[in-house]
Symmetry: C2
Subunit: 243 residues, 2 copies
């Protein structure tokens, strides 16, 4: 390891970046073990304690997971759904589960002002719009529109996404080597727009309030990747977050 690096970034930070790059380059697959801490220490000419610290932080970032006696492994990327669970309103203890996803469509759109700003693109640039329907206990519960740059993710289409399964983020990781993490989430309460209401099976004429989420996801290097809007029905189940 180069010790004369202007002494700016600590060693363990440099090792974090290095490992992150190698993970994203696909050097180790999901659930595959990295070399042991001692082997990494020798390879990178640092002490095992320094390797340990880098790995510990990557575990905290949920990029890796450890199992005592077995090794250190590459973690799955986050789920499209996010960390939230669906639970009975008022019952704070028992968290439910995450819903199941179905890809409805993959079309093209143009970046709005907000999308362009959030994604670091110019207004009007072409984006993929991936529409997903979430079901919980068989019932439609949420509708997502995910927007991603066409340029960065050339050739993304419904066939790929359905074939891979596991949602948009899993596909980004496996096909484009991009790991993603949620940077920011906005919550609002809105009346469900007509189109979304019909897709969510809300056919009554009365207007129904829905939880509206806006979410910005970035790559591990902090580069904005996805702008996602979600309408979530919360009459039966609440959207539960546990910090």
């Amino acid at each position: 390891m180069n010790r004369n690096q202007l002494r700016r970034r600590p060693l363990y930070e440099q090792i974090k970046s290095l490992l992150l790059r190698r993970i994203n380059d696909g050097e180790w697959q999901v659930d595959e073990a990295l070399p042991s801490e001692w082997d990494l220490a020798e390879e990178l000419s640092v002490s095992q304690g320094t390797i340990r610290r880098a790995l510990t932080e990557l575990v905290q970032d949920e990029v890796l997971y450890r199992q005592q006696g077995r090794g250190t492994f590459v973690a799955e990327s986050v789920s499209d759904w996010g960390d939230a669970l669906l639970g009975a309103p008022g019952a704070m203890g028992a968290g439910g589960a995450a819903p199941l996803v179905e890809l409805l469509s993959c079309s093209r759109a143009n970046a709005s002002v907000e999308m362009a700003e959030a994604l670091g693109l110019r207004r009007g640039e072409p984006l993929w719009r991936l529409r997903q329907l979430w079901r919980y206990q068989g019932q439609p519960i949420a509708l997502d529109d995910a927007y991603l740059s066409c340029e960065k993710f050339e050739g993304l289409d419904a066939r790929w996404l359905r074939q891979f399964g596991g949602g948009v983020y899993a596909t980004l990781q496996r096909r484009y080597g991009v790991r993603v993490m949620v940077k920011s989430v906005q919550f609002r309460a809105e009346l469900l727009p007509r189109e979304e209401a019909s897709l969510l099976g809300q056919v009554t004429s009365i207007e129904v309030p829905a939880l509206s989420l806006l979410r910005l996801s970035v790559s591990m290097t902090g580069e904005p990747v996805e702008w996602r809007q979600r309408y979530c029905l919360t009459q039966q189940f609440a959207y539960v977050v546990t910090p």
Copy 2:
């Protein structure tokens, strides 16, 4: 430090608990420095590295904060509002700020089934109900009802809360030595009930959707302390969370 403790809990965990107890007992005030890592190490007969690890985790839990060259200090308890910010819808970059709080009333209520379960009490037990109005840029933006056990927090009243200022959590810490952290939050979209609508200045006859939050807060030892419900207007500002 007792090394023959059945070897169950690691030393740094024991030290975390010990320091947490001493912080809650008021041994050091908010923004007051703890003894240096070396002094603590000597006092507790462990190595500085072990003290360091315990402190690092308490910093991650936002119980302490560190300043290089100065020391390690007791942090403020969390704000009643929580970690969220109010921001312009669609603008993910620029987070706004938190709103200002005003205590409306302090009354008594009886625990509902959900409250009792969440707080570990029996149904119908007496609770304080603290009603707070949040204003942002002068406009009412959210209404909170915080419920706490009357038994555990004897003598809580509006005078104390107003006199202390800084909200419920600051008062719990200063008067009862209880530090609090948010354990779980539920989000729902609802139509704003009539009473809450009038307190939030929504006098139109049409029904307005509001973001409904249910939040359970616990002490540092994990004991449930507060059940809080919030109605938040989101027509103008979104509720922004940054993980």
